[in-house]
Symmetry: C2
DNA sequence: TTAAGTATTATGTATGACATAACGAATGTA
DNA sequence: TACATTCGTTATGTCATACATAATACTTAA
């Protein structure tokens, strides 16, 4: 009984490093002061003096904020607040070569889920202009005579445009970040089965449905359009 | 003409900092040597000597790797390779208070898209055991008499379980990370309209469909289940 | 008035020192 | 012998100081 309480007390000791604490303090302070983008923060030396730690520690903490996209440091000018670009940060770690295979596969799957699930946003935010652009992209679609190399850049153009139409910048950035991973997984031998080339729902049909159909129809159509990928995932 | 070439050449000058280069070098080396998780990397001083830079630079570079989740440093033991946890990094930046409103809304939307799009994975990987657990969660569902406080923890339990069933760890982590943002957006005045409380498709019905239905049916059901949220987004 | 050059300043890099925690070897005790 | 304690070694964590570099502000010369 006493032992349990004791252990609980032990757990409360601060095992975090100095840099950890400084980082936390800085973030808290920044959001407390409601600093706007572009505002500059004190110089490293001043921070060091204020917080009573060495410049080294301050620098490491600032480096973390910088990696989080919270600030940007310029020589002479000091550091300024920036709006954190979530996926720019994530992008740095999104290197296919340093991720393990499971994670890579799972990222592959996430993209599929997103493109099926985005239907409502597409329908809500589409414009006639968007539709026209999509049609233009489709019209440039290369022949699929060369079965062993389905045109990746065309795929990107089409699906990228869809993300754009959602009007969701974050989603668009997410897609941009997923691209290299997707490409890697698609072409590496990571997914056991070979790439099938049956044509299910075409880009053309997708645009038609987006133009005149409903979100329900579009989701199902997209699901079938992506059948090649699903088939590879589900052995 | 010459001017263009000149500019292009100018662009190629290496504006990256020393730390940038060291970081890149380290990552490349790590993936070249095909190091497994748990393998340890040379000591800071050795790295410094090998690369001909100061320990300061090495430390900053290592700090970045650590933030990417590529390595973990222990005193005495040195640094060891770890499998990068993508969303642990992102999680640190996923603080509702430091993200701008547009981004927050967009993250809210991404969650909706994901849950609708995940249907196929649910159906492919569900087990009878999963279904039972879902039913158990639903059975504990609180009454909705209190219209002004729909039970958030129950929501999390149910939807979290769904993510779990997808068998996609990355997606699950993603959800976990989105939770605070979702909660924040939901309760803050960020979305103009008030929270509606019409009951559309219930959790109970969702489980039923997952048990006996099809992915198509589930997607539509989920779409209706989330109608309250969609209604708030689409003014 | 404009352009070139100079001074200033805050971050970037280097170096050396000490603190601290983890591990293992050596020592002491039952 | 087996176990617990002590202590030294080692690699990261923190500190302090100095200098390099690049961007800005200021000054000077044409």
């Amino acid at each position: 009984m006493t032992s349990t309480i004791f252990k609980k007390n032990l757990k409360t000791i601060d095992t975090s490093s100095l840099v950890d604490r400084v980082e936390k303090k800085l973030v808290e302070t920044l959001q407390q002061k409601k600093l706007k983008v572009g505002d500059s923060i004190p110089k490293e030396i001043e921070l060091a003096e204020t917080l009573g730690v060495s410049r080294t520690v301050i620098r490491e903490a600032l480096l973390r904020l910088r990696m989080m996209g919270l600030i940007e440091s310029k020589k002479k000018k000091g550091a300024v607040i920036t709006s954190p670009d979530l996926f720019a940060i994530l992008g740095k770690s999104m290197n296919p070569h340093i991720l393990d295979q499971d994670t890579l596969k799972q990222i592959f799957e996430i993209r599929l889920a997103l493109e099926i699930g985005m239907a409502d946003f597409l329908f809500r935010r589409k414009t006639q202009e968007n539709i026209e652009e999509l049609k233009k992209i489709v019209s440039k679609e290369p022949e699929i005579t060369d079965t062993h190399l389905f045109n990746i850049s065309h795929e990107i153009a089409f699906h990228g445009k869809l993300y754009e139409i959602t009007g969701n910048e974050t989603m668009k950035k997410f897609q941009k970040m997923l691209l290299p991973v997707f490409d890697y997984v698609h072409h590496s031998g990571l997914l056991g089965k070979p790439i099938p080339f049956r044509k299910f729902v075409s880009h053309n049909e997708l645009v038609d449905i987006l133009d005149k159909g409903t979100p329900e129809l579009f989701r199902n159509a997209m699901r079938h359009h992506l059948e090649n990928h699903f088939a590879r995932i589900f052995d």
